[in-house]
């Protein structure tokens, strides 16, 4: 299967399963509201009755300085709360991944809630184990490989005669880190797909499948992943370009901005399903 065919089929599958995105969106909104309420209360209390609220900007140094003065000491507890909610969100997403992958791999099947959550429950512990094992990959990648790379380029940077060399090397380091990141994420994605597609109960075997699968056709698989990254970036650029137009005053501008941000969140969630669907299509086209 060609790269573009895999992506096209993945896009088609994702379009046919809008309920998956809806579930992810609802979850996202619920967590957002839970975490953002204290912040919104502060904004409402401080700026709601004030004329400053008429001209406050999204990043208003004058007001942010006042907020830091008043709520600076509450910042750590607040961040702690967000972290707890974030961990809960992570666990719930691990749970939902089973439903996402399960329903997307069932290309023609329904994406109703019942089978979705059934898949979520069925694959939950295996996905938890994959997540935990993925931490080993992250440690190896960022703790070892990138540190090794840093150690290699450090003498060059420390002995540079001008700013150019450190600039180029540090950005090269970043690029390599991002590419390694994409590879690790790809391995984890294919392992999840293998668990569902092959009914694999051992996550170690699933990871081995994923590695071998990628070893046999690495560049095509990587091309799928990177093209989807480019697609996401393109969507993000479009979002920010259009979003800039909503800066004009007026209720319509505020409402349009609100709607546009939500469309972007939906786009990102949809792209998340496209990543899975396209890679699943590619995986199934090359049975192990």
């Amino acid at each position: 299967m060609s790269v573009l065919t895999a992506i096209a089929k993945g896009v088609g599958t994702a379009f046919r399963k809008p309920r998956i995105v809806a579930v992810l969106y609802v979850l996202n909104v619920l967590f957002t509201v839970a975490a953002a309420v204290p912040l919104l209360l502060i904004v409402q209390q401080e700026l709601g009755p004030s004329l400053v609220g008429s001209n406050v900007r999204p990043m208003d140094a004058m007001w942010i300085g006042e907020a830091v003065l008043k709520y600076g000491e509450a910042l750590m507890p607040l961040l702690g709360g967000v972290l707890v909610v974030g961990v809960l969100c992570l666990v719930l997403n691990i749970f939902l991944n089973g439903g996402v992958v399960g329903r997307l791999l069932d290309r023609e099947g329904a994406s109703k809630l019942e089978p979705f959550f059934a898949d979520s429950g069925r694959y939950f512990w295996r996905y938890v184990r994959i997540f935990l094992l993925s931490l080993v990959f992250w440690v190896l990648t960022f703790g070892l490989v990138l540190n090794l790379l840093s150690a290699l380029i450090r003498p060059l940077m420390e002995n540079a005669w001008t700013e150019w060399l450190p600039l180029i090397l540090s950005n090269l380091h970043l690029l390599i880190a991002l590419l390694l990141l994409s590879i690790v994420r790809m391995i984890v994605d294919y392992a999840r797909i293998a668990v569902v597609s092959d009914g694999e109960r051992s996550v170690l075997r699933a990871l081995r499948h994923a590695v071998r699968f990628l070893g046999a056709r690495f560049f095509r698989a990587w091309a799928i992943y990177l093209l989807l990254v480019v697609l996401t970036l393109a969507g993000t650029i479009v979002f920010y370009v259009v979003f800039g137009r909503f800066a004009a005053p007026g209720v319509a501008g505020v409402v349009a901005g609100l709607v546009w941000t939500q469309l972007y969140v939906l786009f990102r969630l949809w792209m998340r399903t496209v990543f899975v669907a396209a890679q699943a299509e590619y995986y199934r086209a090359h049975p192990y």
Binding site: L47, L51, P58, M59, A61, G65, G244, V254
Partner: protein
Amino acid sequence: MNVRIFASAIVGASLVLLAAAPFLAAQEPPATPGGPGLRYEIWVELDAAGKMLLGKEEIVWTNPTRDVVPDMLLHLYWNAFKNEDSVFLRESLAETMFRTGDAPDDGEWGWIDITDIRLADGSDLKPGLQFVLPDGPETAGDETVARILLPTPVQPGESVHLRLEFRSKVPRTVARSGYYKDSFFIGQWFPKPGVYEEGKGWNCHAYHMNSEFFADFADFVVHITVPKGFVVGSSGKLVSRSDDESVKTTTWTFSQAMVHDFAWMADPRYLRIERDFIADRDVTAQEYQETADLLGLPLEEVRLPNVKMILLIAPEHKGQIERHFKALRMALKYYGLWYGPYPYETVTMVDPPFRTGSGGMEYPTLFTAGTRLLPSKNQLSPEGVIIHEFGHGYWYGLAANNEFEAAWLDEGFNTYSTGQVLAKAYGPGAVSFVFKGLSLDWFLRVPKIFDFETDRVAAINTVRYDPVTAWSWKFYNRGSYGANVYMRAATVLRTLEGYLGETAWARIMRTYHMRFRFKHPTKADFLGVVNEISGQDMTWLFGELLEGTETFDYGVGAVSSAEVPAARRGVYDRNGAREEVTRKKAEELEAAADKAPGAARSYRTTVVLRRYGEVQLGGDAKVQVLVRFKDGSTETRAWDGQARWARLEFITPVKAESAQIDPQGIWLVDANLANNSRTVDGLKRNVIKLMSQALFTVQLFFHFVGSWS
């Protein structure tokens, strides 16, 4: 030490200097009345390979006081980098916020030794030279101040002529002095007397981490010998340059009258470019006229001189040459127009050599800027640092306060002035957002803000730690030092400007600068000018906002506006009879009043003002309170702000919409501008927008978390 090189350099340079003497005399700016009581002539050779300076120095000091002076205290600043017993490194290592001065690595220490010191008659003073601890016994171990006992005390008006030889190891980049590979930035490098204060003795503090410097005005002639091919930039004006082919060196001679320090840099790769600030081209007739009108001065007094601008810049920053010159032009123009003409012939701007850590520092007639590869067009960088460091030529360079004891008098004044020039010349600039050396402001659409906004953020958050007027090394930490002496001081000055008005303020700043040019002003001197020009006693403001650590916060506690009832309930004695106005009757009377043709109802608006902070207004100062009504009309009252609260009532034909304290935004130092106003009802559209964007940010965060599952 290579004696032959050194001796030939000195002979060569002296010959050049002799030849140039008549020229020098003709070119030097006129000395201030009395002239400086200090003269230096220094011969220094850079040993680039050994990272050493070898120097000879002549100092002629004239006692300007009525005291008989038995000794002299000398700064030996580079001993701050000699070992971990120095005050500088002890304070740096104990710093809790911004560690800027980690001790140098092995072999990278810096130091200065006086190898010989004599009077002009040959009397050897070296045996009596000893390190002293002007800042107390707790600074024991520090070697940055040395004392010499003079064989004969210096009588008032008499001079003492010293001849020194010194030998210094250039540190590997500490506190804006040092080297990286073949690049050198050399500041605070020569033995320098403290400032003798009548009745008090020598003011000569140790080199502290947070402190900058203090010295007397002097006439300098400096001969710098470097390996041939090195480009040199220095304080003062280049008098001559001569090569010695036998030892492959070049000696650059610079001179400058009426400055209190001398710094230089050397780098073989650097570009040296000159441009002219031509007053008749760079300042319009209208700008001169407006300035003269504002300051109440004759037109001739505000005219500016031409100035030679010299830029030393790294080749990789070549594309930014014009950007550097434009910023310097703006600085020369506005500092000149507002505070007084730049009095020197040259100004040298140095793009700091890579990794010498020398950026963003001021020296008389020379300053270091600071830029990077691929700068953003939206950010005012390097413009901000160029304007700021040039501005120190005024606040520190000319009005030469003691930076050890009153750093706010230069840093605060100059932070304020920088913000004014940037706003006038460029408008607001984008907040810096750089990742891996690349500017991301174009993508992130970071907001553009004025300097006074960020200054205020720091000002309101730092007031709890220290007064602005604390001595430099007595601040809670480096963050408190920076935020107080730079930003809070600037915010207080801007507040003063708002309170006293544009014209009075412009005249205060001009008068203060010109009156104390080539002098060492203090807080009292500035307060004296403020009171004199404004005609008000502003002592209270200095006490509360500069010497105090309390918060300034006035606000509107509550506002309500309701119809005045047509009838009130209760028992009334009317026309000899007692009558009860019942609830029902009152409602009927209200309805009748509403229906009456041409009936005009009135509204009672109650505004409660609060003094949330501990700072109280003083003198004649009052805060204005503006109430805006539904029909667009307004009413303004004043409150002296003495009590903790005040209640104001307004009876008007229409309902109130909002109440606002300090509607003109005079009291920028107010810690909470959000509570300065309250509306009677309604949530603001921008608040909803802000909330929706906050929600969106949190949404993206959770999406990000989810995507890592």
